[in-house]
């Protein structure tokens, strides 16, 4: 028998959702302050409207649904999944008011893409967008990369057990420190240290390549947020191609890889355990998969003679692969060139890279290297069972911060999530097919959306059908949250309708 959610459930969900909405609203103070600093009056008004609407909704919700009860698992998951939808809807307000998006749906698409650190965009005339709106586009990636709920947990919630439920709901099942609030704050500490270093490196490089100092540091900050949080938005319409700089490409590659590493691994490195990067199953899997995928892509590009020199092939091929594998989506080529020039095999390699993603507890989306590593280990274990004598005891273990024995539960969980991702990649491709796009193009764009990558072969544009926009938005949302909290939300609504 399905039990209908009680009023108390709805109150708890409403109360914590209200708190998160207030947190999202307050983040708009940053672009407002920036708009005043650079003298952009109308953009400041867009954000004032955004913050006011957010605060009104947040305050009303926290008042009407006031409760002192803590969240249970179901409520925590529902709060998280709803938070991301609400964040996209509220984050889209200032974007839409700028007039650079054709419809509110388009603005919601970009806001969801930003929060989910995807990078697909429907913005029009990006090169004339205000600095304030550009800052917001990248800031929501920075917030989304850490996790919207992490923002609330870090700054607005004081130790409660429900915090962990929301933390898990945001696809972060690993605690770096015993206390989840401390974990959230550590994630911020890591991010801010890299933010300072990354912005400095990109800003100085920007000056050296001929940019004006203010633009160099502003765009350096934006690019950092998009690279470290494996987002993929860029302040200029040409993405990284705008800078025409090898040094810029190298720095962004380093930042993308750093963003794709587990925060737990960052913690180990910070604590001086450098050996961990060589032993950890995630970094090993990432290294091997990059090597395999790049070999496929390079082989294909070389076979068709796409690039005149090996170094050029390496620079173009490697950049796109790292960008796709880490789930960032920066491009040093135009979307049309993917299908116009790269052969099918190179594209399949890129799709595989996008579909795999980076580490768990990082800012990337997709299946993730830990799961791929676990599945590979399970496969090896099964092969060993067949080869070795029947009486032999086969034990498989892997290293992930500590040595862990592989058990069926881990393999089942890894396989289930992998299967869910594969299904969502194909489903999105089917919707693309419905609108007349070739299968490979549809699969490319669908995988890019669901794996929160942002590389585009040109399907994503403001003129694409609303249903396709909605499909990609759902994929970005589901892909970022890794399904569990979304299944819980669906279950919650089913229980609400069918329950007794």
């Amino acid at each position: 028998m399905i039990l209908r959610p009680r009023l108390e459930d709805i109150r708890s969900i409403g109360y914590y959702l209200g708190k998160i909405i207030i947190a999202i609203g307050l983040t708009m103070l940053l672009p407002i302050a920036f708009a005043i600093f650079v003298g952009e009056i109308n953009p400041a008004l867009d954000f004032l409207i955004g913050i006011e609407i957010s605060l009104i909704i947040g305050l009303v919700l926290t008042k009407v649904c006031f409760t002192e009860r803590d969240l249970n698992w179901m409520q925590g998951m529902v709060v998280v999944s709803l938070s991301w939808l609400v964040a996209a809807a509220l984050g889209a307000i200032p974007l839409y008011l700028s007039g650079h998006w054709l419809s509110y749906l388009d603005a919601c698409f970009d806001a969801m893409s930003g929060f989910a650190t995807t990078g697909l965009s429907l913005v029009g005339d990006l090169d004339h967008l205000s600095l304030t709106h550009n800052l917001w586009r990248h800031l929501i990636m920075f917030i989304g990369g850490q996790g919207i709920v992490i923002v609330a947990l870090s700054f607005f919630v004081r130790g409660m057990s429900g915090a962990f439920k929301m933390y898990v709901g945001e696809a972060r099942e690993e605690r770096i420190l015993p206390n989840v609030i401390h974990t959230a704050r550590f994630i911020w500490l890591v991010s801010f240290v890299y933010l300072a270093l990354g912005t400095l490196a990109l800003g100085i490089t920007g000056i050296f390549i001929g940019m004006k100092p203010f633009n160099a540091f502003f765009q350096g900050l934006c690019i950092f947020m998009a690279a470290f949080d494996t987002g993929g938005f860029a302040p200029q319409s040409q993405s990284i191609l705008y800078y025409h700089s090898f040094a810029f490409e190298i720095i962004t590659v380093i930042l993308m890889v750093l963003g794709a590493l587990n925060f737990k691994l960052h913690y180990c490195l910070w604590m001086g355990r450098r050996r961990e990067i060589f032993d950890n199953i995630e970094s090993r899997t990432l290294f091997v998969s990059i090597l395999v995928v790049f070999s496929i892509v390079a082989g294909s590009l070389s076979h068709y003679g796409i690039y005149p020199q090996a170094l050029v092939l390496f620079r173009k091929g490697f950049y796109q692969i790292i960008s796709g594998h880490t789930g960032t989506g920066f491009q040093t080529m135009y979307p049309g060139q993917f299908f116009g020039e790269w052969g099918h095999l190179a594209l399949i390699g890129t799709i595989c890279a996008m579909g795999m993603g980076g580490a768990v507890c990082s800012t990337t989306g997709a299946i993730k290297t830990l799961r791929i590593g676990i599945i590979a280990k399970a496969f090896i274990e099964d092969v060993k069972r067949v080869i070795l004598p029947e009486k032999a005891i086969v034990v498989q273990k892997y290293h992930h911060v500590k040595d862990i024995f592989l058990d069926d539960k881990q393999v089942r969980s890894a396989l289930l999530i992998t299967l869910a991702y594969l299904i969502i990649y194909v489903l999105g491709a089917c919707v693309g097919l419905l609108f007349g796009h070739p299968f490979l193009n549809s699969l490319f764009e669908s995988t890019s959306a669901a794996a929160n990558v942002g590389l585009s072969c040109g399907i994503t544009n403001p003129q694409m059908p609303a249903l396709l926009k909605a499909t990609y938005m759902l994929q970005m949302w589901a892909g970022r949250l890794e399904f569990m909290s979304i299944f819980t939300l669906i279950g919650f609504f089913v229980a609400f309708v069918k329950g007794r």
């Binding site: 867009d46 006011e52 090169d127 004339h128 490409e249 135009y334 060139q337 116009g340 020039e341």
Partner: protein
């Protein structure tokens, strides 16, 4: 026989003249990207708005030119950019210029970038700063919402002491 040769030469001349004419017309960025192999290493004319920074690299400089669909990178001698004063960004329209040069699908000199090595540049329409006027409708919405926000906050404050009693 001579007649035949003349006809052939005339046909060749007409063909190249046609190619020359077609390439002398500004090409769109979409056309250049889509048919990159066709135009690779060929002289092209491209027109667009200069956007963002002019990035000087010694004797040469990079400019990015947008024709409204895409922006392409143009590698040009710094000395030729003396007439470019306004670049496009928020609050300004950049100079609309036309460049003639050689198109590269994957430039070996610049890491495989799709670019144009321009030999000449011509200013078509000068850019300008755009006046930023206060949007009064937005200002009014801000004040109305501020009123609602104050009301909600006051209601919360009023209800709290009553509950405490």
């Amino acid at each position: 026989m001579i007649d035949k040769h003349c006809k052939f030469l005339l046909a060749v001349c007409l063909f190249f003249a046609w190619r020359g004419i077609s390439f002398a017309q500004p090409l769109s960025s979409e056309e250049l990207i889509k048919k990159a192999r066709t135009y690779d290493n060929k002289p092209v004319v491209y027109a667009g708005e200069v956007i963002g920074d002019i990035m000087f690299r010694g004797e040469y400089a990079w400019i990015n030119m947008s024709d409204g669909k895409n922006a392409l990178g143009v590698w040009i001698k710094s000395g030729l950019l003396a007439g470019i004063t306004q670049t496009g960004a928020y609050g300004s329209r950049g100079d609309w210029v036309e460049v003639s040069g050689v198109f590269h699908r994957a430039c070996p000199e610049h890491g495989g970038d799709l670019d144009i090595h321009a030999g000449s540049i011509k200013l078509i329409v000068a850019g300008k700063k755009l006046r930023q006027e206060l949007n009064k409708q937005k200002r009014d919405i801000v004040f109305i919402l501020l009123g609602v926000l104050c009301l909600v906050s006051i209601l919360r404050l009023i209800k709290r002491p009553l509950k405490a009693k």
